[in-house]
Each structure stands twice: as structure tokens, then as C-alpha cells.
Symmetry: C2
Subunit: 115 residues, 2 copies
Amino acid sequence: MAMCERTCIHQDVVEAVRERMPPDARLDDVAELFKVFGDTTRIKIVSALFESEMCVCDIACLLQMSQSAISHQLRVLKQAGLVKYVRQGKTVYYSLNDDHIKRIFDQGYSHVTEE
Amino acid sequence: MAMCERTCIHQDVVEAVRERMPPDARLDDVAELFKVFGDTTRIKIVSALFESEMCVCDIACLLQMSQSAISHQLRVLKQAGLVKYVRQGKTVYYSLNDDHIKRIFDQGYSHVTEE
DNA sequence: TAAATATATGAATGTGTGTTCATATATAGA
DNA sequence: TCTATATATGAACACACATTCATATATTTA
């Protein structure tokens, strides 16, 4: 049985880190946010919306995926507060909610390209 | 049956967006990276390592989780190239690989706090 | 060399999630 | 009002994944 599951090795370090870390709830929110970006389909939708607002139909066409799959993922993006939409007759146009999203994406993008 | 799964509504928009979007492989990499950040345990480990390098034992102690669970997640972080480690006797000290990680985290963090 | 400790890892399990399929809803036009 | 089209959504299914459990490996110390 492992000793270290009950006792820390460096109590002082652990205490210091614990005090300086953000509260758990905050970190959970951060993970939740990144999780939304952590899907191929969703990141492609976001990437597309950087260029132009788009209707569901066109996104499905662009990504060669079913309309249903796109709708479901747009729902996730909407619930995360990343996209907004405007209805115009039969079609619904989606766009990004703010440009902070672009900054988050760019940081990730530059990380994978700088290698 | 939906018409829009075969035909785009705005061909011109779709074409323009397609041309300006990054290649699929790149976007897959970006999603993969964000997915690593998109887990509560991993984001807490990363957040802890911002403060100090730490051994597996202390991380487990800090997060009140099993040593095994932490080891498994450190493996994921290592495979993603986010952490490095140094062995010192029986203990292994993990630390962040570069400070780009901090910038990515900060963007996500400020997004969830600015609400 | 034997015992203790820190870490790593494979298998199993339960849970989460993305897509599909079928269908419902909403709007426009005939 | 009936039909066509664009979108939304619930259920089902397959797959991914995080943790646990048992155990292996590595290193130190007695």
C-alpha cells in the first residue's frame, strides 16, 4: 500500500500551492470551457464562424456532416455561451458571441503550429 | 429528407470560408490540445504546476486523489508534450514544459471569470 | 539481499459523449 | 390549407475515457 496517499512528502510545498491555486469551482469552469473546444467538429464550427456568420445548412455542407450532428453541436456551443443566433425566415444564422473566443483559439492554434 | 444536406444554401459563402479555414489536420490538433485541458483533474494538475514543480505523491495529496489516477493523467499530459519530469531517487518531479501553457490557461481562465 | 516506498501500468468498470435515426417544430410558398 | 424546406430534439448506439484495483518496476535503506 502506498504511503503517499495518506501523507504528503513535502507538506510545505503542498500547502503553499494549495493557497495560491484558484478555487476548485473556477477550475471546473475552465475545464468545462476547454472541453467545449476539445472536439473536432466544434472547433471546426468555431473556426468557420471566425470567417463569417453561417446557417446550419451551410455549416453541414462545409463540414460534410449531417444537419442533425451540426445542430446538436451548435446547441453545445450555445449552452456554453460561445455562439448566438438570429432567425431569418426558415434559416437560422449562427455567429460567435465575442472575440475572446478568437484569442483562446489563437493561443491553442499557435501552440500546435509552433512545433 | 433535408435538402440542405446535399446542397449548400450560400455556395459562395461556403467556398470563401473553406478557402480561408486552416487545414483539417491542424484543427484536429487544436481540438486534441484543448481536450487535454478539458478535464478537471488535468487542469488542476496544470494549475498546481504553475506554482511549483511537484512529485506525483504531493499532487495526489493536494488533489485528494489516488496516486494511480494522478499518474495516469500525468501520462496524458506528458504525451501531449505539456509536462516534463526529472527523477530524483524514488521520487519523480513534474513541471510544465513551457510557458505557452500558461497563456492558454489564462485565456480560458479570464473568460470564465469575466462573466 | 530483503523490505519499504514512489511511481508506472494493464485490465476492468462505469460514465460521458458524438453521431445517427426518426420525428417534431417553424416558416415560406403554392 | 397543404407541401416543401430549415432547424431542433429525443432516443439509441457505439465508442472514448477517467478512475479503481491489482500488480509491476525502480530506488533507497536496513
